[in-house]
């Protein structure tokens, strides 16, 4: 028998029942719940007179709608407030653990799961949110689902799934200084495209991936969905085990050693066969900046906006033209000539402590440029915020002219008041540069935290390696 991939191992372990029609009933160990994609699921349970199958499998938090300022005053927008209140009511009614808006443990759902130790290797983890792939950094099978499946998982602790194909993305060698997990991931998406991973579970491997911290691995797995894959995962190693150990919901006592021994088996076997393999050379990856309205529209910071006339695919050339019009950019323009209005440092992609440290390191002793109307830091969780304050990072940001906010999804998608106005251009550490994503008519360029900080100081994109 040939070796099994990490995905095979987790899949096999979670099959409750083979349905005999190409699908299986898969057991779900953990469900994360937020306010936007859950109300209709709870309503469905009520209408059908069903209960939650296993309450303690679920952890809930409001993150999308929450304000990042003046939070003690509550939520001003009555529609947002109603949605957050609905989550509170639903969690109270069904007995689900909730970190409410003003709880210090509140934060972006994909930041708090790992932070609390609720995310563990070998688990199946779902959430009504496409960035659930983040948790795959722990050698877990984690993927986003729609609200009907949220209801299904709540009611049955299972999902009906067909097995995905597997793709190994191997990043060999060492990444250079100033090149982060975000740059590696944008380079991967640039290479395989936003549909490159469709139908696949990605496993990231190679020296450059092993070198990444757990925070960096989360950034990488987070954006698997931007490569079209529902899930991305990374084999367990010492870093994984050490990160989880001692966290609030991590295994304790006699179970700790037992769990850790099991976790260390969560790697793809030697000789495991993947349906596809993609190889990148880390040393060749430079800091990345997206220029268009899809994450695959990305170039190195020392590159230029591409010309649709040079694109050999007619449909793609047309989408480039659309993107250039929307982004108000001209072909051939150097990336470093793109001037910005706002800078957003946050999101489930890049708002963990390491991200804040990287940005603060660039900002220390510097000031945000005059043309930047707003630069803001939105930590990924209340605990990330506290940790940053303990390290004095908040003062570095404030001294540089950044606003220091409370935790939430914020301007990654602008469901709360943090939005771009029409025509505004933003350097953002988030994950999507879609039209209108950060506010109707807003223009988003995706970058790493260090690159966002450097752009804030210069007022336009610069190569963080030059400063």
């Amino acid at each position: 028998m040939s070796g099994r991939t990490l995905y095979d191992k987790i899949w096999d372990e979670h099959v409750v029942r083979d349905n005999g029609d190409g699908t299986a009933l898969i057991y779900i160990d953990r469900q994360m719940v937020h306010e936007v994609t859950s109300p209709q699921a709870f309503e469905g349970l009520r209408l059908a007179g069903r209960d939650v199958w296993r309450r303690s499998a679920n952890l809930a938090v409001p993150d999308h709608n929450v304000p990042t300022i003046d939070r003690l005053r509550g939520i001003a927008d009555p529609i947002s407030r109603a949605q957050v209140e609905a989550l509170q009511t639903n969690c109270a009614d069904f007995g689900i653990r909730l970190f409410a808006m003003n709880d210090p443990r509140q934060g972006i759902v994909h930041v708090i799961g790992p932070e609390q130790g609720a995310t563990q290797p070998g688990m199946t983890i779902v959430c009504g949110d496409s960035h659930t792939s983040t948790h795959g950094a722990f050698g877990a099978l984690a993927f986003g689902i729609g609200t009907s499946e949220v209801e299904h998982a709540l009611a049955t602790q299972t999902l009906i799934q067909a097995k995905a194909k597997t793709m190994l993305i191997r990043v060999d060698g060492q990444a250079g200084p100033g090149v982060t997990a975000k740059d590696i991931m944008l380079a991967i998406i640039g290479k395989i495209g936003t549909a490159g991973g469709t139908g696949h579970v990605l496993e990231y491997g190679g020296q450059a991936i092993r070198d990444l911290s757990m925070e960096g691995r989360m950034t990488l797995c987070n954006m698997s969905i931007e490569a079209g894959a529902r899930a991305g995962m990374i084999a367990v190693d010492d870093k994984t085990v050490e990160y989880v150990r001692g966290r609030t919901y991590a295994p304790e006592g006699e179970h700790q050693a037992e769990a850790e021994t099991y976790w260390r088996t969560l790697t793809s076997d030697e000789g495991a066969v993947f349906d596809q393999t993609v190889v990148l050379d880390a040393a060749a990856i430079r800091p990345q900046v997206t220029w268009g309205t899809s994450p695959e529209m990305v170039v190195p910071v020392d590159g230029a906006v591409p010309d649709p006339a040079t694109c050999d695919d007619a449909t793609r050339a047309e989408s480039w033209r659309h993107a250039l019009t929307y982004m108000d950019l001209a072909p051939g323009m150097p990336i470093t000539d793109i001037h910005l209005d706002k800078v957003f440092l946050g999101s489930c992609t890049n708002a963990r402590i390491e991200d804040l440290r990287a940005a603060a390191a660039v900002l220390k002793g510097r000031r945000v440029a005059d043309n930047i109307k707003l630069a803001m830091v939105v930590p990924g969780s209340g605990l990330v915020k506290l940790q940053a304050e303990k390290e004095g990072l908040d003062q570095v940001f404030i001294d540089a002219g950044f606003e220091w906010r409370d935790a939430g999804c914020s301007m990654c998608l602008g469901m709360n008041p943090d939005q771009l106005s029409p025509g505004e251009r933003c350097a953002s550490t988030s994950n999507r540069n879609f039209e209108g994503r950060q506010g109707q008519g807003g223009r988003t360029h995706l970058v790493s935290p260090a690159m966002a900080a450097a752009a804030a100081v210069a007022g336009h994109f610069v190569d963080v390696r030059d400063i």
């Binding site: 936007v36 994609t37 209709q40 689902i145 609200t147």
Partner: protein, 213 residues
Amino acid sequence: MQAFTTHEGIMAPLDRGNVDTDAIIPKQYLKSIKRTGFGPHLFDDWRYRDPGGLDVDPATRRPNPDFLLNQPAYRDATILLARDNFGCGSSREHAVWALSDAGFRVVIAPSFADIFFNNCFKNGVLPIVLDHQNMDALFEVATRDAPAVARVDLLAQTVRAGGVEYPFEIDAYRRHNMLEGLDDIGLTLKHAETIRGYEQARRDAKPWLFREL
């Protein structure tokens, strides 16, 4: 769920690749805690010239006459033709709810994003994959003969338009559930004993997974 056997309707050709779910239904409508009422906001940023929200009556807004679904030939369309990677991005099922609420029963594209594709089946909206050549042919019919009608037969697995029949593939279990309009949760709960048995064995082997939160 609404069962799907056959459907006949007007095709609307949306000629853009990588249409994401943010474009299908923008963020501000995700604040609703209902499953209905998203139809008027389908493709909201493209469909209107002024900003909207849940607290704005769509009837008071300025439609963009250039947008496909505002054109008389496509206003009553129920079959959406799309390009590659339709429905990418956010997992929001609201995107399917919006399509369904606006009357769409079928989306035909050369490829779909996984989560969107899956969400369609939960809501009686049939996503059909056809190759690029056949897609181009359908786009041509839908544009040239607008308003052009297509007939979709899930039992026979065919799309008929412009006098041509296009066969399509679909997973057997998805087809079955769609034809019968079956409720997944009800079906799964028939195996409640099996799930309980699995769960107990898992609890015995890996008790740390069952820690109270």
